[in-house]
């Protein structure tokens, strides 16, 4: 492969990112010894929270992460922590000292934290609830301070609900009917005493007996989700993609790379399929799912096009982009939430919506391929070697991915119009999400048209393609994380703006460094006309 040598650097860079992001080993401060019956097996039991039934493992992971920023506490898993905190409502004491992160400086001041302290124990935070409530109500304008206080308030309220034993809901089956009751009323003394006669561990027995009855009435979909979460498919597919990439670029074993690529596709297909089975809808309704789908779609598309064009560089583009998306899914968990929650009414049962978003996300994937290749060429040209012939050769492949990407983007925008017409009766409403996808489309159109004028020779074409992807990122993330208004409702989080800002900065930096280094020759080369 022509570009293999320099890809090593890129690969090392990603590998380095991987190590830096891996969780730090926990300091063994205060282990929690008394765990009653709170074992990890409880993760498999169903709980109804946030509008759907899910395994306790999923709920506990989400809750403990929301409260403390981590999915575990000292030597305890999220399930154990959640269980122990809930038992506090039944006067079963524990030694857990869960703390909330207080990052906002004004919030630290409001809570009168000592200098340099960025956490507050929930036991203390709960005491502050009335004061927080008053402060939040007083604010008319939503600034970042109010938002930080609001988050603290809802965290504290949630903690109070959990430790009151009101958040852990368990199924109670009576005559084919399931009621969800809090753990404090579920574990009644008479039930426990009765179970104690037959079992060593009466609590667990009472719970699992009821879960068996529940399964007979309501099925065991939550068990599938439990095993799904346990399988950690995003992590598996990330490792497979990185292996494939290593085989392709470092070891130059193309067949092996292909084998790993196919395995990645298979694992991701399983990941997507199970998510569809759990949520009962197309896997494209929040940021996490769109990122997941675009990486998969791009690799899939790249493998097909690569096969027909008999060109390995497509496999490289697909793997590289897939690796990016999978790293985001595994490490950027603050920005992309993997939780599955019910949709707002307009997004439900909608054929046009599914078709529209699928097409758009596939187009983002295809255009991301062009972005990967354009940046690779830029870096390779600046810091390695790339003949003019190769540059022209590769920009032909960039053109192929652009062709796929823009057709799908155009079709996706039109399908979006059809969906809007079907749901609201208007084809186009200048909603920021649709406007930004049109902006991205128009920018790519300007580049493709301009390429046949003297304004955009090859030397400008490649950096422009690399830069144009910023408009896709803006349409995809920026509208939600920066503009944050309009009808489209996939999530909204603070970390997103930071991520997007750094992306724009790095991408602009790459373009500046790689083109300025080429001296004054830009634009001197012109296509014949």
């Amino acid at each position: 492969m022509l570009m293999a040598r320099n890809l090593k650097y890129l690969f090392t860079f990603f590998a380095l990112c991987l190590f830096m992001a891996s969780p730090q080993s926990l300091a063994d401060g205060n282990r929690v010894e008394q765990t009653y019956f709170c074992q990890d097996e409880l993760g498999a039991i169903p709980i109804r929270q946030g509008g759907r039934v899910k395994p306790l493992l999923v709920h506990a992971n989400e809750i403990i992460k929301y409260l403390s920023g981590k999915k575990s506490y000292q030597n305890l898993s999220a399930v154990q922590t959640f269980c122990l905190l809930s038992l506090q409502g039944m006067d079963l004491a524990n030694t857990i000292k869960l703390s909330a992160r207080v990052d906002h400086v004004d919030a630290q001041k409001f809570l009168e934290l000592p200098e340099g302290t960025k956490t507050i124990a929930f036991k203390d935070l709960v005491e502050e609830i009335p004061r927080l409530q008053r402060e939040v109500r007083k604010q008319k304008i939503q600034d970042s301070r109010t938002k930080a206080l609001q988050t603290l308030l809802s965290q504290a309220a949630l903690y109070r609900e959990i430790t009151g034993g009101q958040n852990w809901l368990l199924p109670a089956v009576t005559n084919q009917r399931v009621d969800w009751i809090p753990v404090t009323s579920f574990l009644r003394e008479d039930k426990i005493l009765e179970a104690k006669r037959i079992s060593q561990d009466p609590f667990t027995k009472v719970i699992f007996d009821e879960v068996e009855r529940y399964k007979k009435v309501a099925g065991d979909k939550h068990v599938m989700e439990y095993h799904f979460v346990k399988a950690k498919l995003p992590l598996v597919s990330m490792l497979l993609t990185l292996l494939a990439l290593a085989c392709l670029t470092l070891f130059k074993k193309f067949t092996l790379a292909l084998v790993f690529s196919f395995s990645t596709i298979a694992v991701q297909l399983a990941l997507i399929t199970v998510r569809i089975l759990i949520s009962g809808r197309a896997p494209i309704t929040n940021m996490y799912e769109t990122v997941m789908f675009s990486g998969f779609g791009a690799l899939f598309l790249a493998m097909i096009v690569g096969h027909y064009k008999k060109e390995r560089v497509y496999i490289y583009m697909g793997l590289m982009y897939n690796a990016c998306t999978l790293m985001m899914m595994n490490f950027a968990t603050g920005m992309l939430s993997e939780s599955i929650s019910p949709l707002v009414p307009v997004l439900r049962d909608n054929f046009w919506l599914s078709t529209h978003v699928t097409t758009i996300i596939m187009s983002y994937g295809a255009l991301a391929l062009s972005w990967i290749l354009a940046n690779t060429i830029l870096i390779k040209k600046r810091f390695g070697e790339l003949s003019r012939q190769d540059e022209v050769y590769y920009s032909d492949h960039i053109y192929t991915t652009l062709k796929w990407g823009t057709i799908m983007l155009g079709a996706g925008i039109i399908l979006g119009g059809v969906w809007a017409d079907y749901s609201w009766g208007r084809f186009w409403g200048w909603d920021p999400k649709e406007t930004w996808s049109l902006i991205a489309f128009v920018i790519y159109m300007a580049i493709l048209h301009g390429r046949y004028t003297s304004w955009i020779p090859h030397k400008r074409f490649i950096p422009l393609v690399a830069g144009a992807f910023m408009s896709i990122m803006m349409a995809w993330f920026g509208v939600n994380y920066i503009l944050a208004s309009g009808l489209h409702s996939y999530g909204f989080s603070e970390g997103g703006a930071l991520f997007l800002g750094s992306f724009f900065l790095i991408q602009t930096g790459i373009i500046i460094i790689t083109t300025l280094g080429q001296g004054g020759s830009i634009g001197s080369e012109q296509t014949s006309s």
Binding site: G50, Q142, P345
Partner: protein, 572 residues
């Protein structure tokens, strides 16, 4: 669209051949046509279009949807840009005539775009896009559109005049005259600012005109309020209810009588003199009627007036008829002892303290808190004006939108100049004036459209996600009254109702304080719809066709896409 340049890219020899055939077949291409259909023109337009949209989305994010529409998307420069693209696309296709087989896809794409453009224009020109609010069991046929209008109603003549206001984002001077009414500044985005204004008319010195600003606060809450007796005050009244507390604002001359703990707890108020006295002051006997009710007879300017103070403040004359609006009236403090009532007289207050079973009257000094006997509240007098009018005057602002809600600039206001006096009519406050003895009502509203049929919301159904308060779906059951008699329909998300060319979609809902749901339907007429769909199909299939033709040509080795530059038809 993405593809025309490649199809147009042909070898140099080829293009020379083409230009000569063009001349031969009579296709003369002028320099202007070449420029308009040229790629550079297209690139410039595309870049400007993208730039304008970027500005639009940021405006939308900061200033709101309405502002972005008024300043970017629905302005003539932006429309002109779209028209320019329309021209560019048309000429690009025209320049590549007569038809060539390899350009069939390209023609389809461009024709598709032109048809979409035509369809959009038809929607813009002849379409309807509005909303219909259906409160429970109340018939409605009025569709609210987006244009702002001033409606001038002459109730005596039963006449209504409508005046369309400009679709602008900024303060505009209308400068139009209708009869004696001049329209001044129009503020599409305004905030109401509190101001003390000089009265427009002269008043008798005895007439109470004062207005006061107060703050009522305890440790938990603080509430500012303004009360006024001035007849010109529109926004501020003399009564206010704050939770369980009722506040009465009375003329200052009544204050001293409230402080007297006279046994009868009655106060007589003479409006003509702006003075008060108690029955005890004038030694008026309080008798008991056969029914056991108290009554008293007072001589006032020669008339004998009888009062039943525990029933009504108004007197009965000699014929025992109620004299509403009489100069003399009576207050029975007894009636205000059961529930919390706070009496304010500008610079004094009076209230009944249940614990002490006594009425108190206290003077209020600026910024000095006075304790009142409910929930630890303190009353602070902030400002007192004897004759100035408290008013909310609209001032222009840049709007702010957060989380789909206007938090600043949600008021629309228009200045009316009548007989050299300026009045503000706003979207939430109509203005009523007497012009040359005739009543005239001004309303600032949205343009509306009367449907030829009528709707009633018979039932609204909302389903929630299990165990939460989030709406999972909302559905309207409506009864439609048309010439064919009533029909029942069920409208919900993704299941619109089509009737007589109108389409009704479930858009949103609202809930009033009693918990009743109102449903909002969006109403739509789109004559351009078939064109937009046909054009879109042509666009997508044209692109595919085009790439297919290109792919075949490339396979045959006819074209190398990257080496060739674009050859445009030469100027003839």
């Amino acid at each position: 669209m993405s593809t025309k340049q490649e199809s147009a890219s042909i070898h140099l020899n080829d293009s020379k051949a083409k230009s000569s055939t063009k001349k031969g077949t009579g296709f003369n291409v002028t320099k202007l046509e070449k420029t308009l259909g040229g790629l550079k023109f297209a690139v410039i337009l595309l870049s400007l279009f993208a730039l304008a949209m970027v500005v639009g989305t940021f405006f939308e994010s900061y200033f709101g949807t309405d502002f972005a529409n008024r300043t970017v998307y629905k302005t003539w420069p932006f429309m002109l840009l779209q028209f320019g693209m329309f021209i560019s696309i048309t000429f690009a296709a025209f320049l590549r005539l007569p038809p060539k087989k390899r350009l069939y896809g390209f023609y389809t794409i461009h024709a598709g775009l032109i048809i979409i453009g035509a369809g959009s224009f038809m929607t813009y020109y002849a379409g309807v896009d509005g909303s219909l609010v259906l409160p429970p069991n109340t018939p409605n046929r009025e569709v609210i559109l987006s244009d702002d209008v001033l409606k001038i109603r002459f109730p005596d003549e039963g006449r209504l005049v409508s005046f369309k206001l400009p679709y602008t984002g900024f303060s505009t001077n209308i400068d139009e005259v209708y009869q004696d009414i001049k329209l001044g500044r129009y503020l599409p985005f305004a905030e109401k600012e509190f101001r003390w204004q000089e009265p427009r008319q002269k008043y008798q010195p005895s007439e109470p005109l004062h207005s006061t600003q107060y703050t009522l606060a305890n440790e938990m809450v603080a509430q500012d309020f303004t009360l006024s007796l001035h007849p010109e005050s529109i926004e501020f009244e003399s009564n206010l209810t704050l939770g369980p507390l009722t506040i009465h604002y009375l003329p200052d001359s009544l204050a001293q009588c409230f402080g007297q703990n006279n046994p009868s707890k009655l106060i007589l108020w003479d409006r003509s003199q702006a003075s008060c006295y108690t029955p005890e002051d004038k030694k008026i006997a309080i008798k008991k009627a056969d029914s056991g009710r108290r009554f008293l007879v007072v001589e006032h300017k020669g008339d004998l007036l009888s009062f039943f103070p525990d029933v009504s403040p108004w007197p009965l004359d000699q014929e025992m008829k109620v004299k509403r609006g009489a100069e003399l009236r009576i207050f029975s403090k007894k009636l205000f002892e059961e529930k919390p009532n706070l009496f304010l007289f500008g610079q004094a207050t009076a209230f009944y303290d249940k614990d002490e079973d006594q009425w108190f009257q206290k003077p209020l000094k600026r910024n000095q808190p006075v304790e009142i006997p409910w929930m630890g509240f303190e009353l602070i007098m902030e400002n007192h004006q004897i004759s100035k009018v408290p008013s909310l005057v609209p001032t222009k602002v840049l709007p702010i939108q957060k989380n789909n809600e206007m938090i600043k600039g949600s008021t629309r206001a228009l200045e009316l100049i009548v007989q050299d006096q300026s009045y503000w009519v706003t979207n939430d406050q109509p203005v009523q004036l007497l012009i040359n003895g005739k009543r005239v009502v001004f309303l600032l509203q949205k343009e509306s459209l009367k449907l030829p049929f009528e709707f009633v919301l018979t039932r609204f159904k909302m389903e929630k996600d299990p165990g939460t308060n989030r709406a999972a779906s909302y559905e309207s059951f409506v009864r439609l009254f048309s010439e064919n008699g009533p029909e029942n329909h069920h409208i919900y998300m993704n299941n619109p109702l089509k009737h007589q060319g109108f389409t009704f979609y479930q858009a949103s809902y609202s809930q009033d304080r009693q918990g009743n749901y109102s449903s909002t339907l969006s109403v739509n007429v789109d004559p351009g719809r078939p064109f937009k769909y046909a054009g879109s199909l042509m666009l997508v299939f044209g692109s595919m066709w085009h790439y297919w033709l290109n792919f075949r040509r490339r396979k045959k080795g006819k074209v190398s896409p990257l080496v060739a530059g674009l050859e445009e038809p030469p100027v003839s």
